[in-house]
């Protein structure tokens, strides 16, 4: 298949079901995406949409109920323990909370050299040189080596986490809400840093965020998730300027913009309903201005519409433009 040649990771028809007291939750419902080398895919959606579960499944931290995941040509479920361990060198993660993802009792040097130790790379001296190099590449100094997380600011901790993720020179980095906890001015620094590092190292990013602005800035391709499904997927221009799913449109118009000229724009509010129609074919139907009155949205199963080579959506009656 062509996609496998051009992808560093492929997620195919993955579902993950959690069983709880009140019923089953489809955290991922037939989700497919692929990561192209040197590019960024953003998964966007609100809390509970399944974006973090998708990341966990890709990282091998969670096992899907069905579907397959291939990373660099290897199928995740079929690997032996040692093979999986070696594969982890190639896919690393940076998480949301700058402080809790770092061991607060360890120095910055020990934190960043952790992955090197785990794989027995180099000796003490060469590891230190490497850590200093990594620190420089994320905009920190040698003087930070001996510091512990509590002596650093949130932005600096996030830089340390990024340096640790880069230590093994991976092909793929999963960034799970990696800038969400940072203040505006610091967030901009870290985003610029991530883009620079990607360019220098040819990294592939899976960028998970609820912030559409961040997705817009970082991603070549964007997948919008709603209740465990990818409802729209396309490149930046497709999703932001030519949105076809009603949820994408509602999401975009909900973002308050810091531009006075946008103050008076008419805004399409996404409705909240107390009891979502779980049996509806389209899970967005109960909140959708159009779908609520349509029978097919209730009973006819949805199929992915491939509008162009890059743009697809999951909707019976997509938004028309022009």
């Amino acid at each position: 298949m062509r996609t496998q040649v051009t992808s560093v990771a492929t997620v195919m028809g993955v579902s993950r079901i959690f069983k709880g007291k009140t019923g089953v939750v489809h955290a991922l419902d037939n989700v497919s995406f692929d990561l192209k080398p040197g590019r960024t895919l953003a998964l966007v959606g609100e809390s509970g949409s399944g974006k973090t579960t998708a990341a966990r499944v890709l990282l091998g931290l969670d096992t899907p109920n069905s579907g397959s995941i291939e990373i660099l040509g290897r199928t995740l479920g079929l690997l032996k323990h040692e093979e999986l361990r070696l594969l982890r060198r190639e896919i690393q993660v940076v998480q949301q909370d700058p402080f809790s993802q770092l061991n607060r009792r360890h120095s910055v040097e020990r934190i960043i050299s952790g992955p090197l130790l785990a794989f027995n790379i180099g000796d003490k001296e060469s590891r230190r040189d490497q850590v200093v190099e990594l620190l420089k590449s994320v905009g920190l100094e040698k003087e930070h080596l001996r510091r512990r997380p509590h002596e650093l600011s949130g932005g600096q901790c996030q830089r340390v986490a990024i340096a640790r993720a880069l230590a093994l020179d991976p092909k793929i980095v999963v960034l799970d809400e990696a800038v969400s906890a940072l203040d505006v001015s610091v967030r901009a620094q870290v985003l610029n840093l991530l883009r620079r590092i990607q360019e220098e190292r040819g990294l592939t990013y899976l960028f998970i965020t609820h912030d559409l602005g961040v997705a817009h800035y970082m991603a070549d391709e964007i997948a919008v998730m709603f209740r465990g499904r990818i409802v729209e997927r396309g490149n930046r221009d497709d999703v932001f300027n030519n949105s076809r799913h009603h949820y994408t449109v509602g999401l975009l118009s909900s973002v308050p913009l810091a531009t006075p000229s946008a103050t008076k724009r008419s805004r399409e509010q996404v409705q909240a309903l107390p009891s979502p129609g779980v049996d509806d074919a389209c899970l967005y139907r109960s909140r959708c201005a159009l779908g609520l009155g349509r029978e097919d949205c209730k009973s006819t199963p949805l199929k992915i519409t491939q509008g162009s080579e890059t743009h697809s959506w999951l909707c019976h009656s997509p938004v028309e433009h022009g």
Binding site: L212, R236, S254, P256, L257, A258
Partner: protein
């Protein structure tokens, strides 16, 4: 216009290894009746402590060193706590970031609203319950007569924040403080909750202090904007003045460093170099001078006062000059 709230020269400090350090520094502002003021700033800028002072929720080790706060005609900082308790909820109310921790998790929401209503009136339980249902309906909770018996864990974050708003407004206050009240909510929910606050404020002539780190939220839901940095109020003006022609270098840098989906993705974002000063290490002179690209020697020596520049207030020696440079561009 009559002011609902006036703050004069408010200063707060906290203890540190180097002695007490100032965290809110000589802040003065007022909120005209019926206006919505957005207070923006990054974490540590002192915006929440300013809000807590208005509710008299400042506790050890934080201290109010000086200042006056007038709520209507009355000065509240010099008042006894017993007297102020009658004003809290009746004259001024606050909603917080996390609705789950603002509510008692093992009490039905109805009981919590009724408690608040009866504290501020002499209604009996039955009357208060009927009023509570009305309040729930007015904040857009569907089936209020049924939901009144729900526990907090049975409701979503957006619905809980509506309950908190209903409680905050149950004493019919004149001033409402919203401290990052929608920060924990999803963007579609945030939009609905802010629209609700907007509508209620208009209906009741409320004065609102909207505290947020989100420039978009401030731009869309305020009349006037105040910008705080490292405990200082650095600029104050109308939404249009602040967002179209900011004069303080920090305001301008903050706006330039935003990342929403309208920015040019082909260039790096203009981020502000460095980071906000540590509390125990505030710079001499202008607090923003170490990160400011327009810094001059005088900025490191004297503290620029908040003065009128181009129909707004700004605390920068070069504000007037920079405004004209910007205009020429």
């Amino acid at each position: 216009m009559k002011n609902a709230l006036v703050v004069n020269n408010l200063s707060l400090s906290v203890p540190s290894a180097k002695g007490r350090v100032t965290v809110v520094d000589d802040v003065s502002f007022d909120i005209p009746a019926g206006k919505k003021i957005g207070l923006v700033g990054e974490s540590g800028s002192g915006k929440s402590l300013t809000a807590y002072s208005l509710m008299r929720l400042i506790k050890d080790p934080v201290q109010i060193d000086k200042g006056e706060i007038f709520l209507g005609e009355k000065e509240i900082l010099g008042m006894s706590m017993k007297d102020f308790r009658h004003m809290r909820g009746n004259d001024i109310s606050m909603i917080y970031q996390d609705p789950m921790s603002a509510l008692n998790p093992i009490m039905r929401i109805g009981a919590q609203i009724i408690e608040s209503i009866r504290l501020h009136s002499d209604l009996d339980h039955g009357q208060a319950r009927r009023l509570a249902i009305e309040h729930l309906a007015s904040v857009g909770i569907p089936e209020p007569d049924r939901r009144i018996d729900s526990y907090p864990f049975e409701m979503s974050g957006g619905m809980l924040q509506r309950v908190v708003i209903a409680i905050a407004l149950s004493g019919e206050p004149k001033v409402l403080i919203a401290d990052e009240a929608t920060t924990a909510l999803d963007v579609t929910t945030q939009d609905r909750v802010l629209t609700l606050i907007d509508k209620l404020a208009a209906e009741r002539g409320l004065s609102v202090l909207l505290i947020t780190h989100d420039l978009g939220v401030a731009a869309q839901f305020s009349d006037d904007i105040m910008v705080m940095y490292a405990g200082k109020l650095v600029e104050k003006g109308s939404v249009n003045q602040i967002f179209s022609h900011p004069v303080h270098p920090y305001t301008k840098a903050l706006l330039d460093s935003r990342c929403d989906y309208t920015i040019d993705v082909t260039k790096p974002i203009n981020s502000i170099a460095g980071q906000p000063p540590r509390l125990d290490n505030r710079p001499d002179g202008c607090v923003f001078s170490p990160r400011c690209e327009h810094v001059q020697p005088r900025c490191r020596e004297g503290v620029p006062p908040l003065i009128s520049v181009q129909d707004r207030l700004a605390a920068c020696f070069r504000a007037e000059e920079l405004f004209h440079v910007e205009m020429v561009k």
